[in-house]
Amino acid sequence: MSETVTLLVNGVSVTMPAGSMVSAAILKTGIHGFRRSVTGEPRGPLCGMGICFECRVTIDDDQHCRSCQTVCRNGMDVRTDG
C-alpha cells in the first residue's frame, strides 16, 4: 500500500501521507480560507472533528463536504471557495 497520496487542490497537485484528511492538504497548499461565510468572511476549519461545518469544500463535484472528515485519495479534485 502506498505511503502517500496525491490529489488536486484548486488544480494544484499536493502530496500527503496516506490517511491524511483533505483539510490538512488544503492548509498545506497555503490556503487558509476554505470558504466564505454567509456575509462573505473567509473561514477555515475550527473544530477539526466534523461538527462546525466551517471546513466545507467541494470534492469531486460534491458540495458541502467536510474536509476535516474526508480522507485524501489519489486523484481527488478539491475546490475551495475562499
Binding site: V38, D62, Q63, H64
Partner: protein
Amino acid sequence: MAKTYDVIVIGAGIVGSACAAECAREGLSVAIIEAGIIGGGATAAGMGHLVVMDDSEAQFALTRYSQKLWDAVSDELPREVEHDACGTIWIAADDEEMAEAKRKAAFYSERGVPVEMLDAQSLAEAEPNLRPGLVGGLRVSGDSVIYPPCAAQFFVDQATARGADLFLGASVETITADGIRLRNGSSISAGVIVNSAGSWSPALTPGLPVKKRKGHLVITDRYPQFLRHQLVELGYLKSAHSLTAESVAFNIQPRKTGQLLIGSSRQFDVDDARIDTSILTRMLDRAMEFLPDLRKLSSLRAWTGFRAATPDKLPLIGPHIEHKRLYLATGHEGLGITTSVGTAKLLAAQIMNRETEIPVAPYLPARVTQETVHV
C-alpha cells in the same frame, strides 16, 4: 390592569401581527397578547409564499388584494424579511395538468395578473434542474417569497411604534364578555377582541369550525444556483382540496440564502407534532420526481407545523355571530402569510364600521352556520 383598550389581538402570528399593525394605524389602542413568541406557530413553520390562488373567486380576490398590499410595503420590509420577487411556476406533468395550467392562465389574465405559459423547452430553460419529460407550466411572475417570522416581528414593531402594548408570554385562559382573562388571573378589557390564534383559535372560541392540518417541511443547505422560482405542481390543488385524506404535493421554495425549502404534506386529525417518517418520505420522493438532483443535496432540518383549516378553505374574517365584541381572524390554512395583510385591512374596516375594499361576505364567520360540519 386598569387600561381599557380599543382592541385586544390574541396571537402574534403573522395574521394577528398584521391586524394589530392595521388597527394601530387606524388610531386604535391595541393590546397584543402572545402566549409564546412572535410568529411562533404556523408562521414559523410554513413557507413564506406570497401567491395568488384561484380555487374560488373569493380566494382569488383575497390573495390578489393581499399581494398588492405586500407589493406596496415591500420597500419598507427589513432585510431579515428577505422579500424576493422570484415568481411561481405551476408545473404541468401531463396534458391534463397543462389544460389546467391554461385555464388558470386565462383566469388570471382576465383579472389582470401577469402570467406566461411555458412549453416544455421554456420550462427547462427557466428551471434546468427539473427532470425532462414535463409538459410545461405557468409562470406567475408577480408572486414572491418572504421569511415570515421576521415579517410578523415587523408588523408588531409597526404596531408598538403606534402605541400598541405587547404582552409576551401571556396566555389567555378565556375570552370574557368585555375582554380576556389571562392564566395568571389578571384581566384586560377592550371594546373589541380579535381571536387570531390560528390553530389555537377553537380552544378560545368553542365551536369554531377550525381544524388543525399538519404539514411537514425540510430545508436544505445553501445551493444558490439550484432553483430560481417557487415551484408547485398542479397536482397540489388536489392535495389542498381534499378534506379527509392525508396527502403530499410537490412544492419547493428558493430562499434568498440559497437554501431550498421543500414541502408539502397535509394530514387531518393528527395532534402529534413529531415527524412522521412515512409522510416525510412520500413528500421528498414526490419532490425528487420533479427535481431528481435533490437526492444528493444536504438537508439540515425537518419539522412540522399545523395550519388552521376551515371547511370551505376560506378564512374567518369578521364578527362572531353571538359574542358582541368578538371578531375572528383565523382559519387561513396554507395562505396565511399571503392573506395576512388583506385580512388586517378587512378586519380593521369592519371594526371601524367602514366599507371594505373588497367584498367581505365570503369570509364572514356568519357564513359558516351550525349545519356546517367537517366531512
